[in-house]
């Protein structure tokens, strides 16, 4: 069993790099000429409306899709050259509502990647306990099934599952989108605390500007398959770009926007 990706110390280059990457499906361009990079330890938020190409971008990272032009590199190597299984096991993936296996208990869900990586049983059990604590879940939820959990609990399990094998890269697709505002806010805070402790390369997709401003080190705004701006979070709201202004205005009518 090959060792998982290291946490950025050995390789000096970016953890994830898009090099003029494009993706077309049946002639329709879903992503055009994207150039972007994410360093180890950095959180990049992909912001944009539906159809802007955010999800496509994520899927190019874990090779659920391959670029039709250009290259996508993870840890310096093109995804096309990676063994897809090894690549995906080194990337934690969290989606809306968790995508948990309904026929596995919470524990079995979380333990999935460690088990298929043949970790010794004791280590798996310990890791599950550790993660449940880390995401703030009670240990006796371990034997429940996803259908017996609330939305917020499912989401936490989803995060725990993604973190189980301690992958150096984490990609999240509207991970908190289906939660009620209070739970959502809790999750955001907890996630930021987690992120400060671990030093993973994180790409977080959302269409919510406030969430982006709260969680990001950098924000990449996308529209219709193209990258519009790519700025550090502090500079984002001050940008003069037309689309950024449109976003800010759309969110400025709402309370508590002044997180700049």
């Amino acid at each position: 069993m090959t060792a998982p990706l290291s946490h950025g110390s050995a390789t000096e280059g970016p953890a994830i790099e898009f090099d003029h990457a494009s993706f077309r499906l049946n002639g329709r361009p879903l992503l055009e000429d994207l150039t972007l990079l994410v360093k180890q330890g950095e959180t990049l938020v992909l912001l944009g409306r539906s159809g802007s190409g955010k999800t496509t971008t994520l899927k190019l990272i874990n090779r659920l899709l391959l670029p039709t032009a250009g290259e996508v590199r993870v840890n310096g190597r093109a995804t096309a050259q990676w063994d897809p299984i090894r690549l995906r096991r080194s990337i934690g993936y969290v989606i809306q509502d968790g995508g948990l296996f309904p026929h596995f208990t919470v524990e079995r869900n979380i333990a999935l990647v460690p088990r298929i990586e043949n970790w010794p049983r004791a280590r798996v059990e310990e890791r599950v306990r550790e993660l449940l604590a880390k995401v703030g879940l009670n240990a006796d939820l371990a034997s429940r099934y996803p259908s017996q959990l609330s939305g917020g609990q499912r989401q936490r399990v989803g995060v725990a599952r993604a973190l189980a094998a301690d992958p150096p890269i984490l990609i999240l697709d509207e991970a908190f989108g289906a939660l009620d505002p209070i739970t959502r806010s809790e999750m955001q805070k907890e996630f930021r605390a987690l992120q400060r402790r671990m030093q993973k390369a994180v790409i977080f997709v959302t269409h919510d500007l406030r969430e982006a401003l709260f969680l990001a080190d950098r924000i990449a705004l996308m529209e219709q398959g193209r990258l519009v701006v790519d700025l550090p979070v502090g500079e984002f709201s001050r940008s003069e770009d037309r689309l950024v202004r449109a976003y800010v205005e759309a969110f400025s009518g709402l309370p508590d926007i002044s997180r700049v």
Partner: protein, 308 residues
């Protein structure tokens, strides 16, 4: 803690599957081997003469041996009986030499009684491991049958004589007769027969009535049909000796005889015990007088001194 509870959940499903598997395994061996243990299963085809012969076999085995006998009659034809005895589902059934030779061994028919018997005996032994009993004493060959009044009116005795009149007649034949190599095709060739129209193909049970009711004028009946004398029918003589012999005898499973030679001995006592006439009489008792085959058979066996 939790991993074990996962295992516990899956246990009942696995158990059920195992149970189903075991149930299947139990029944697996039952195709084709000797399941009956100490029973003798007597089979027969589904017409009266066969039911009578099957009953004769059953009653004599019951009289001579302590073995229980199961009756599995009404199997619808030669092929089914052959399949059943090969699969071990029956141990013995009545067959005819002509049928055995042409329909089962698929050899060319012949007119010589001895020769046919020997070929059947050898063929069944070598090909199927089945044993053939001695001839029971009568010949149920195909008979071309017409109404008595037609025979008298036209002064007909033989098939060759009838051949001039058949273009005005309608014929009625059963499925087997039409298909068998020793049936319709050969007959037409041997006598140059033609009929007013294509022969009507009917169930054996309906064919006699059709002749009586003048729906047909000539049928392929059987030599030992009980209704022939009763309904004033006439059997045309097969002067070309086209029809091969159909001596009745018992077909027996080799394996059964090995374990129960007393069954072979019991059936052997029936050699030559039934004449053409006797068979016709028994057939008539069942078909014409509507008596029960077991009673008719018991009476016959008593009369011949085979049982008391």
């Amino acid at each position: 803690m939790t991993i074990d509870s996962i295992r516990a959940r899956r246990q009942p499903i696995r158990c059920k599957l195992l149970l189903l598997g075991l149930v299947f395994l139990l029944f697996f061996p039952s195709t084709g081997c000797e399941r009956h243990g100490d029973r003798i299963v007597v089979g027969s085809k589904n017409f009266t003469e066969q039911l009578i012969l099957g009953e004769i076999f059953a009653q004599i085995i019951e009289a001579r041996t302590p073995l229980p006998v199961e009756r599995r009659f009404y199997l619808a034809g030669t092929f089914l009986c052959q399949q059943a005895i090969l699969a071990g589902r029956i141990d013995v059934y009545p067959e005819y030499t002509g049928t055995a030779l042409t329909a089962v061994l698929k050899q060319q028919p012949s007119g010589d009684r001895r020769e046919v018997y020997q070929r059947v005996e050898r063929g069944y032994e070598s090909k199927f491991g089945l044993r053939v009993g001695p001839p029971l004493g009568f010949d149920d060959r195909f008979a071309m049958v017409i109404r008595g009044d037609d025979a008298r009116r036209l002064h007909l005795q033989t098939l060759s004589q009838a051949a001039q009149f058949t273009p005005q007649w309608r014929a009625g034949f059963g499925y087997e007769f039409m298909e068998r190599p020793d049936g319709y095709k050969g007959l037409v060739a041997s006598y140059g027969l033609r009929f007013a129209e294509a022969p009507r193909i009917m169930d054996l049970g309906l064919i006699t009535r059709a002749l009586k009711d003048r729906q047909v004028d000539i049928i392929a009946g059987n030599n030992t049909d009980g209704l022939i004398p009763a309904l004033d029918f006439f059997v045309l003589e097969d002067d070309h000796h086209y029809f091969p012999p159909y001596e009745a005898l018992a077909i027996m499973r080799g394996g059964m005889l090995k374990s129960h030679p007393e069954v072979g001995a019991a059936l052997g006592e029936l050699a030559g015990a039934i004449s053409d006439d006797e068979m016709r009489r028994m057939n008539y008792a069942v078909d014409g007088e509507h008596r029960d085959p077991p009673a008719v058979v018991k009476e016959f066996l008593r009369r011949r001194g085979l049982i008391h």
